[in-house]
Amino acid sequence: MRRTAVTKSRRIAATVAILALIFAAFQTASVFAAGGRGAGEMASDQRGAGRLMLRGKGVADEMPAMQLGTDIKVKVNGPVARVTVTQAFRNTSAGWMEATYLYPLPDDGAVDSLKMVVGQRIFEGKIKPREEARQIYEQAKAEGRKSGLVEQARANMFRNSVANVGPGETVLIAIEFQAPVQQLAGEYALRLPLVVGPRYVPPRSLMNERGEIDLVQVADAANVTAPLANPKLGSKLNPVSITVELDPGFEPAKIDSPYHPIKIVDQGAQKRLITLADGEVPANRDFKLSWRAPSGKPAVGLFKQEHAGLDYLMATITPPAGKQSGPALPREMIFVIDNSGSMAGDSMIAAKTSLIYALGTLRPQDTFNVIRFDDTMTQLFSAPVRADERQVAAATRFAKGLDANGGTDMLPALRAALVDRHGESRNSIRQIIFLTDGNLSDEAEMMAEIAANRGRSRVFMVGMGSAPNTFLMRRMSETGRGTFTHVGTDTEAVREMKALLDRLTAPVATDIKVTVSGASIDLAPRELPDLYRGEPLVLLGRTKQLTGTLKVTATIGGKTWTHSADLSAAAASESAAKLWAYRRIAEIEAQRYSYELDRETADAAIEELGLEFHLVTSRTSLVAEDETPSRPEGATLTKEELPLLLPAGWDFDTLFKGQNAAAKANPELAEQSELLELPETATGFMSALLAGLLLMLIGLFAAAVRRRRMIAA
């Protein structure tokens, strides 16, 4: 009996061992049959070769011969900041140099002055049509005379050029601009961008319809890109010093600079002098300064200026906020969420988090719908439905199930969102909220669609991820009379969405009308946007004569609200006219983009405004020139494009690993990289299998030893 049992167990063990050995042998054989390391692998292994698609104007590994230092002086006077940016170009080489430098300014910063300083001499810049200014600069350059040029590359991006800087010589280029102080929910803020982030230029945008290289597009792309500095050059490159004279018209409280440490010196009750605690900082992140009024009650600002026979008005009025007189207006909210492939990863998570949060804030009297799109589109409900518990729960489930996949075709979703079944209804407001990274190329179609069919709908853009197409989104929200909010990360998502939705749920002031002594006034923008909680009404207008009273009417919570101000109390201002002109120019740019104006008409209007108000625009540049040549005939001029620092938080190694040399040799265009985490892709089943087999062998061996001992006993 005992003997047969032992024989049986032995037989089982033997069978298992044989099976296991067969399996292991089979697996090992197949691993070796696969060839170990492939023959082709090493031969074609160029580390980072795949990233050669990320071509740039190259990377500067050495300090440029032309060295640059920037000093920024800001004077905040009431609602306007006047900023002087002085760039010192110092030629450290033994030859004659020309340098060009790309730098950012605030979106609403209107450049109106250029001074070129050489030793004791100062040359004032003149405003000229873009091509003429370029010609003046090129001619001075060719004749060996010093010249400086300020051109606009984008509404928020400018390029300075300076020619014929002698060996060891320093030339100062000082530009001045003004920008309105931003005001939101009682906080005043000034934001000075210090560096232009590398822009992605889609290769297809350089082609025309026939697939040929479009030279105009190539020139434009070259204009908005610059070489990048290797971080090892450190902060010696492009150091910036900043001084702010703050005179807000009240005693400033809670002065804060979130990105740079600052020093604050009191200069009387209402004035403060703010400098960087570290003296100089590298130009690699935005400078932001914010302050508050001590009482929390915003000051009423009323300013006027006379310019060329017309009176210009600038007024800041805060309508009554938070007064919930009667029930808030019901809303029809359309959420449009982008689940295309470019959203994959953090952007999709942030978008879903934002949407689910927003769905939770709907009130029973609201109606809503959810639309998702990639290169296809789904409407959750065929028409907006009441936001009862069941429908909101259904929408939340729909949102949770979304995956990022496919191309980005926004137009059908936009069209669907703009369909308004109750177009004439005055008893509800309609808000369309887009959650997207805006990574698409048919931008002009979007503008045109919104402009043509917006009706009473308001379009709010929420930009997801680290590199959304902010230009598209700002313009879409402007055309759709809404706002643009940037949600960077998942952790920011709920906070930013909450701030946006809080503003949107609060009673809005709509139908804002402004008159001066009963007559209408030429406002910029012509159509005033709705106001949300915490937003002040900023008026920029012009009229023949500013006398009598300014009257503002609006609908707040279904009732008419009126505000009157005596214009004789308006303070004199030196910037009202220029700010009006710059706002009007931005409006014309938007109209050109949405095909409301054709290219020629818009260009002509912008050029006229630029020349009249002495402003740098897409059509006008500032140029300064010396009359006498300084570069001796025969001496050659070397051109240098100054490298930019990578914005803080960007990883240089990730962008440029293993391709610096290739990129430097290749003067093509900068492209931006999207990061994607690669999943764990090893099952490791072979080691588990071997471990299992080893265990079995140990067990069998132990069993055999024990069996032998038992027989011996």
Partner: protein, 192 residues
């Protein structure tokens, strides 16, 4: 007391067999991984063929949370695999998964295990032709342009879309069996 003593006695008597059984469980579980990978591909092939005739994605088995997206073929090596949508770890047990899909005009990135579906990656050479047939019947042909070794969290691809790129990603180095931070990425460009 007696029951415990008896239990300990029994364990002492049969521990070699317990070790043996545990080893067998581990070995079978490990062996099941490549078997599952192969069997799933057979079922996926069937689902893919049905999807092709319908033009819409069909699930390979009723409870599947993923569906075939297309079929990747490496012509020189004679390998083809059905690609799944969505890069959950579960999907990658059955086949290569699309972790980014920009269509044939954008960037498509597939990931799979180096010891199952993407074992062929180490044999790919620059110039090899790959093709990706989608469930809608369209076939995009790519040529291998280069290789890249990158940390899993430092991988970047051209943002805003790029005309026709395909990336195949798997763990690196090949031939070892322990998980690590490196990934091997094959870049292929669309042939027009």
């Amino acid at each position: 007391m007696t029951t415990i003593t008896a239990f300990i006695g029994r364990v002492r008597a049969s521990w070699p067999w317990l070790i043996c059984a545990a080893g067998m469980v581990i070995a079978l579980q490990a062996a099941w991984i490549p078997v599952k990978a192969q069997v799933a591909q057979i079922m996926l092939e069937d689902a893919f063929d049905r999807s092709l005739t319908d033009g819409a994605a069909r699930k390979p088995w009723p409870w599947a949370d993923t569906a075939p997206l297309g079929k990747i073929t490496a012509h020189r090596l004679g390998v083809s695999e059905i690609v799944l949508s969505g890069a959950s770890g579960e999907a990658m047990a059955f086949g290569p998964a699309a972790i980014a899909d920009g269509g044939s005009s954008g960037v498509t990135i597939l990931a799979a295990h180096r010891d199952t579906h993407f074992r062929f990656i180490k044999d790919l050479k620059a110039g090899d032709e790959l093709s990706l047939q989608r469930v809608d019947g369209s076939i995009a042909r790519y040529r291998v342009a280069g290789f890249e070794t990158v940390r899993w969290d430092e991988f970047g691809y051209p943002a805003n879309g790029h005309a026709g790129l395909l990336a195949l990603a798997t763990c690196y180095p090949f031939g070892t069996d322990t998980p690590g931070p490196l990934r091997r990425v094959v870049w292929a460009e669309l042939l027009i």
